[in-house]
Amino acid sequence: MDFLRATTWAEALRMKADRPDATPVQGGTDVMVEINLDKGRPKALLDLTPVAELTEWSVESGNIRIGAGVTYTRIIAELADRLPGLAQASRTVGSPQIRNRGTVAGNLGAASPAGDSHPPLLASGAIVEAESVDGTRMIPVGDFYTGVKRHALASHELIRAIHVPVKRGPQYFSKIGTRNAMVIAVCSFGIALNAEDRTVGTGIGSAAPTPRRAVEAEAFLAGNWPAGDLDPAVAKRFGELVAAAAAPIDDVRGSSGYRVHALAVMARRTLGWAWQELRNGGRS
């Protein structure tokens, strides 16, 4: 196994072009575990941690551009006001040690359907900035996941950053696990309301081969944008449509029936919280 260490972004892109078989390492919280458990031996590792520009975030035309090396801990500490959905999801990842190392880019690179950042990224309409020696591609996150643990990156591409729109309304994330922390989601759900456009974003985790939106539920809620109190019938229907968008399996963490049921409950509850915040004029 070769160990490549890039010190600049340009060098990283060149190395990846020369060695498309190299596995990038950011926080290593997925990569190192897989190696330790002997789930395949990468031909080469490409260490991105020395690349300083990856560890920065910036504001660009209403989006936060989060560098691939920004950790969950920093998202929680520095971006919770502007990206509340992503920050809530980040708080549920692993343990302090994992949050100090792990990144959203790594979560995307692993592309596990259970990854916690996916629902808020889907709900808020994030865009993945992929780059190679050939140039930059902007991939809407909904197009990024292509299968179980598969994604849309070409073999010579790397994730440079993730562009996440600054909140334009309440955002909530909910996750069910088999214990209270350090746990892979049985299923998860993210909602983002855009109070200006009266549009709705959703993201479902761990209940289909890939993270996915509940498109019909979004359209239904936008079409029934609640006036005044949240109509329980609307909330119920929203939950049903979210559940209907899922295609879960049975596994050791939970049955498919439970996942469908729980998604409907989480959709109703997060909608309730979001609606409450809207009515409170933006205070949760």
Binding site: D38, A181, M182, V183, V252, G254
Partner: protein, 735 residues
């Protein structure tokens, strides 16, 4: 003088003496030890559950960098039979081509580094002839063993009593397989010096390892020395001589260098045994007002093809409640699985879940408060023999616990206590733990400066043996705790028993008590030979000890220090040996009672999601005399966490087709994390126990027992849903 005068029920909560060593990394666990010229071993495990090895190709492994040796059944040393100690030990590995379970050791690779050994181990090619595996306890082809220990028990006439009972509970309760998972990875570092062998080894019983290894390698016992000054937990996993130990010894002999074999976490799941699953059938007969007339408890647990296990689940039903008619029977079934083995509270943990769930069901059936029904059927005396208990404060546990918990605030109606979308439930369970003690010995030595040390070939598996034995000896010799050092973890010390069955404190403590008594006697005798001694004519019975001095009871001025007595007689030290064997119930006319306890739990169930949260736990225990309140509390706390794990998370999953343990990592085998553990209130009640001279009852295991049924009973109160299988999952609660 040696009987403890006015023993306080709660010993001082002295900080553990090994604490500073552990937090500064100076405590050397077996895997921390490195020897010059040491080589490293990696094991290869079978990937079928049943069959035969037809071909093994080790060429690539042998050529792999750094490899010194590859041992398979084709070139392994022929080893002698492993003797049974308290229970059977696995027969020596690599002696034939037979595969009995998935994960059985089939080769060991030795190399200059761990990495090279592990890499080469992955290069060995194996072909098998597969035989059909028996993996399901209900498989009719599986060998069943009835009354495996000759302990099936019956009195009265259960059949008739059940037929006549106005109220009957007839239910099946199941528990899953659990894995001990001590944090420290079990390690054996074997080093030969001619015909003598030294092992740095993770275990709970050095003399057992010594005996078994000596027999397998045809050595006199004295030629084997086992060192275990520290071990990173055990929970029962270190009570047998597992196969990696002879593998390391054999490997060291082959390469002529010390060899370290450290198991990986997945190997810990197959290599050290696990708690058996259990099926418990319980029938209770009762009067309409809730008085028990019959208890019938049968259990079925599992065994590997070639092992044994002492794990009676039904026996709790013979001592927990007063009933005129009782039957308790156990069966075991042999499967192609890794060894089942003791895990914290073996048998009792499962049997108590079944019994305490059934008693709860009976309470609901007859409309009694679950606490009341336990007091109503209280076993004032041993229900089997009618003899008095050596001590039993279960009633006090229940009463004190109820008060601390606020049981009287409970609204008996199901689902009546709600907080938002959470349903609140209160659950209770009683615990009557088994009693166990084995012979043990110790030596106590007083040095010229008046300080002392105690030696015994036992282990401190994190429970506090170092500390409490120093406290005990200090009290008996009239010294300060920091003047006494406990030395242990070396098989060449006076023969010690296992740190198991919650029996070490009574066994070792009684031996220390005996040794201290003999030692004081020696001092008194010595003083008696000195006409100038203030103790010259004082008989032994009239001597008391305090502040490093012997003196006449009631006249502290008339005495002499231990150091001075030694000096006067020109001695650098004086020692005495002590032994203990369990007393005889017949002679004492009493039944030795293990620890007793009560659990009160508040659970909160999300009514839409089935999520169970444990909101608070009150655990009150009778451990007789508690030598160190702080360490005892830690034992109960740790046990409680284990109990929450058993109730809600822990489940060793065996793949139905391959016999492979499918979740053998901490990523997949869930244990509780901090966020799962609420406030736990721990309290001790009771009196010094009358069965041993120091008045203790072991409390290393009881903390775990009763937590699971209290949670399940709380869930019933919250939701009306009776869960009869562990672990309790969200799916089941929602179902």
């Amino acid at each position: 003088m040696t009987t403890i005068q006015q023993p306080r029920i709660l010993g001082a909560g002295v900080d553990r003496v090994d604490g500073p060593l552990k937090v500064t990394g100076q405590a050397r666990y077996p895997n921390d030890v490195n020897l010059p010229g040491m080589a490293y071993a990696a094991v290869v495990r079978s990937t079928i559950p049943s069959g035969r090895i037809t071909r093994m190709d080790t060429t690539a492994a042998e050529k792999s960098p750094g490899v010194l040796e590859v041992i398979t059944h084709e070139n392994a040393d022929h080893l002698g039979e492993a003797p049974a100690t308290f229970i059977k030990n696995p027969q020596p590995p690599l002696q034939d081509d037979a595969i009995r379970f998935y994960g059985q050791y089939i080769a060991v690779v030795v190399a200059d580094t761990q990495q090279n050994a592990t890499a080469a181990a992955g290069l060995i090619e194996v072909e098998y002839e597969r035989h059909e595996a028996i993996l399901d306890p209900h498989d009719p082809r599986a060998e069943r063993i009835k009354d495996p220990w000759g302990e099936d028990t019956a009195w009265g006439d259960v059949r008739t009593a059940l037929n006549r009972a106005p109220v009957m509970i007839d239910q099946t309760y199941t528990t899953s397989e659990n894995t001990n998972n001590p944090l420290g990875l079990f390690t054996t570092l074997a080093s030969w010096d001619g015909d003598t062998l030294t092992l740095h080894d993770s275990n709970q019983w050095p003399n057992m390892i010594q005996q078994v290894v000596a027999a397998m390698f045809g050595l006199p016992r004295d030629a084997v020395r086992v060192l275990t000054p520290f071990v990173g937990g055990g929970f029962g996993a270190g009570l047998r001589c597992w196969s990696h130990i002879p593998l390391a010894v054999m490997a060291a002999r082959h390469v002529g260098r010390p060899v370290k074999l450290e198991l990986t976490r997945p190997e810990m799941f197959t290599g050290l045994g696990h708690r058996t699953s259990s099926i418990n059938w319980i029938r209770l007969g009762a009067t309409r007002d809730g008085r028990l007339t019959a208890i019938e408890h049968e259990s079925l647990t599992t065994l590997p093809l070639d092992g044994d296990e002492y794990e009676p689940c039904s026996s709790v039903s013979t001592w927990s409640y007063a009933s005129p008619n009782v039957t308790a029977r156990d069966q075991q079934v042999r499967l192609n699985i890794p060894w089942t083995n003791f895990m914290r509270a073996p048998g009792d943990a499962q049997g108590n879940f079944a019994l305490e769930s059934a008693i709860d069901e009976l309470a609901w059936e007859v409309g009694l408060d679950p606490l009341e029904i336990r007091l109503l059927n209280y076993a004032e005396v041993d229900p089997k023999t009618g003899r008095p208990w050596s001590s039993n404060a279960l009633r006090r546990c229940l009463e004190v616990g109820a008060q601390r918990f606020g049981w009287s605030n409970r609204n008996p109606e199901i689902g009546s206590m709600r907080d938002g979308h959470e349903l609140v439930g209160y659950g209770v369970a009683g615990v009557s733990f088994f009693w166990y003690q084995q012979p043990c010995s110790a030596k106590v030595i007083v040095r010229g400066d008046g300080s002392a040390y105690v030696r015994s070939a036992v282990t401190d598996i994190g429970t506090g043996t170092y500390t409490i034995m120093a406290q005990l000896a200090a009290g008996l010799l009239g010294l300060e705790v920091d003047q006494v050092e406990m030395q242990l973890g070396d098989s060449s010390m006076p023969v010690g028993t296992a740190a198991g069955g919650s029996g070490l404190t009574a066994a070792l403590g009684s031996a220390v008590h005996d040794a201290c008594g003999r030692l004081i006697q020696k001092f008194v005798d010595l003083a008696g030979t000195d006409p100038f001694s203030p103790l010259a004519n004082v008989p032994f019975e009239d001597v008391a000890v305090s502040e490093g001095r012997l003196f006449r009871k009631g006249d502290p001025t008339r005495g002499e220090s231990l150091a001075r007595i030694l000096a006067v007689h020109g001695l650098t030290e004086l020692s005495a040996d002590g032994n203990s064997t369990p007393n005889s119930p017949d002679q004492l006319g009493m039944t030795p009672a293990g620890a007793r306890g009560a659990r009160f739990v508040e659970v909160r169930v999300d009514e839409d999601l089935g999520r169970v949260r444990v909101a608070r736990i009150v655990t009150v225990n009778d451990g007789g005399r508690i030598l160190n309140e702080k360490l005892a509390r830690s034992q109960i706390l740790g046990g409680t966490v284990g109990g929450v794990g058993m109730a809600l998370f822990e489940d060793t999953v065996t793949d139905k087709d391959t016999g492979r343990i499918a979740n053998a990592t901490f990523g997949d085998y869930l244990i509780p994390v901090n966020a799962d553990i609420p406030d736990v209130h721990v309290e001790f009640v009771g009196e010094p126990d009358a069965f041993n001279p120091i008045g203790v009852k072991g409390i290393g295991e009881i903390g775990l027992v009763g937590v699971a049924p209290a949670i399940a009973n709380g869930i019933f109160h919250a939701t009306g849903k009776r869960i009869r299988s562990l672990p309790i999952t969200m799916d089941e609660v929602m179902d």
